[in-house]
Subunit: 312 residues, 2 copies
């Protein structure tokens, strides 16, 4: 399959390497200049479960997309930061023909609203992934452990191409599953990000430490209830008790001593976060639907205030 990956950070690098190794034609597009230069010079490198891998792939900066005039990918996978998705697809939109499909596996809600500006509902595939990935430096990924992918055509019409993607991903070892209710999975995963990522960032603690505070139970339950109220208005009946259990399992799991990705972005690297696609999206949709989501509102405001304080 001819696959373009827009956004070659940690997760983009994982998918690029795994898809390339299973003989797909992978082209990379990224907005971070040092990353583009490193990959142009040395290919994409990774510590892949303890083994060094290195793979040459064509890579273009977002500003170089016009050099790709005759290139027509079958599939574009979006792996930018959420808050860079719109700008990236604005610059990469010449790659999208009526035949192109776009797959988005980013955490949270609202990416489809952005992507629908560039591709039809029928050619949009949404999903989630439980793969993890880290970046040691420009062009150098750190890829450990196992994961999977759940995906579904956004418009429930012709799912043939999405099933083809499933096959290609299966051949690449990505453990895909075509889902009949990926929206449920997206909301369920957003509850994890909307509790652990935000609270650890605000409280400056890791996942296990959060779990040890007396307040964590009430905090999680209130936030999950707000997510569920808004999801219900979209026809998704979140099982709040199950989601609560799912989140609290992390408190004593291997990842208990981890600082979530939002913490890494915000507190460690002073970067803006994807809060507008997590709690911010719940707040925005809640306002639209007339549903009160004060915890999501305050959390969104606090994270944005912290972005301004740290990122100046």
């Amino acid at each position: 399959m001819k696959i373009a990956i827009v956004g070659v950070g940690a997760m983009g690098s994982r998918f690029a390497l795994m898809l390339k190794h299973s003989s797909n034609e992978v082209t990379l597009i990224d907005g971070w200049q040092s990353n583009v230069e490193a990959i142009k010079a040395h290919g994409l490198q990774a510590d892949f479960n303890g083994k060094h891998v290195q793979s040459k792939m064509p890579i273009y900066a977002l500003d170089e997309v016009d050099q790709l005039q005759d290139y027509q990918p079958d599939l574009i996978i979006a792996f930018t930061k959420s808050n860079q998705l719109d700008e990236a697809f604005q610059k990469a939109q010449s790659l999208i023909s009526p035949q192109t499909y776009v797959l988005c596996l980013l955490n949270g809600m609202g990416h489809e609203e952005i992507l629908e500006k560039y591709v039809s509902k029928e050619h949009l595939i949404l999903g989630i992934t439980m793969w993890t990935a880290g970046l040691a430096g420009p062009g150098q990924a750190t890829l450990f452990g196992n994961g999977n992918v759940e995906l579904q055509n956004f418009a429930a019409v012709d799912k043939d191409f999405a099933l083809e993607v499933e096959q290609v991903f299966a051949a690449a070892g990505l453990n895909p599953k075509y889902s009949d209710n990926v929206s449920y999975s997206i909301w369920r995963k957003a509850c994890v990000n909307g509790t652990l990522n935000t609270l650890c960032s605000i409280l400056d603690c890791n996942i296990g430490e959060l779990g040890q505070t007396k307040e964590s139970e009430a905090l999680l339950k209130t936030i999950i209830a707000e997510f569920a109220a808004v999801a219900a208005h979209e026809g998704i009946d979140l099982d709040q008790a199950e989601v609560f259990e799912h989140v609290t399992e992390t408190f004593t799991a291997d990842i208990a001593d981890h600082y979530p990705s939002m913490y890494q972005d915000l507190i460690k690297n002073h970067r803006n976060t994807e809060i507008d696609f997590i709690n911010g999206a719940v707040w925005r949709r809640g306002q639209e639907y007339g549903i009160a989501t004060p915890y999501c509102a305050l959390i969104t405001q606090l994270i944005h205030a912290k972005e301004q304080l740290l990122n100046k």
Copy 2:
């Protein structure tokens, strides 16, 4: 006047020194052993507007109150930390006869509920003070600037003694004013503490930095609205626009580069805070009255979680 001061921290030291210097009989009672020992050895010392002052006064640890069997103060002033008030008055209650009055100038709401366990409503005087004070070490206060005191008998019956206190405070230079609506002033001041102290502590910033975030206006207005809704149920009609102006004036005032006292307690010294008497009191009363106060609830939970994370 025979005055006992329970809690000889920064503010207790200020009142002790100023009342002693105007010839009152001041007795000190405190729970911090090093403080008690330092004052026993050297008297109470202070940098008082640049001048070194030192004054011998009898001081007792809270556990030594039984040594004071024949001592009957006319007035006890409560200057403990809010969350230590109950325990301190439990230990000091033998000082309270039917003639004794108790004055409380602590920030926030709910101290009267504790003090009513030890003194009748009619002998309780509530108020606020705009004096500031710092502590350089045990027995050593740092007292700069100017301030004032507003006070009122809690039960609107016999106010003769409270007016006597006003005279004694006036002679001590404490700029007192007998108020006909001290509850309004208490709520208005609580709005300052419930916004600046909490948000600077959660966001790890000073007052001026908070004011520069885009979110500060919405945050302040939402929190003040919750305070006003609960105050209204108690017959206090807070002028929200005026209170908002009053809080935001600090963003560009001399104190803009200050970190509020809650920040000092929590973030710098890893101590528990008075949150249960500020936003926590609004939340608790809101639940009692059937008024939603989600911002106060979440802020209280976050501060308590941070206390546990930092104070372990």
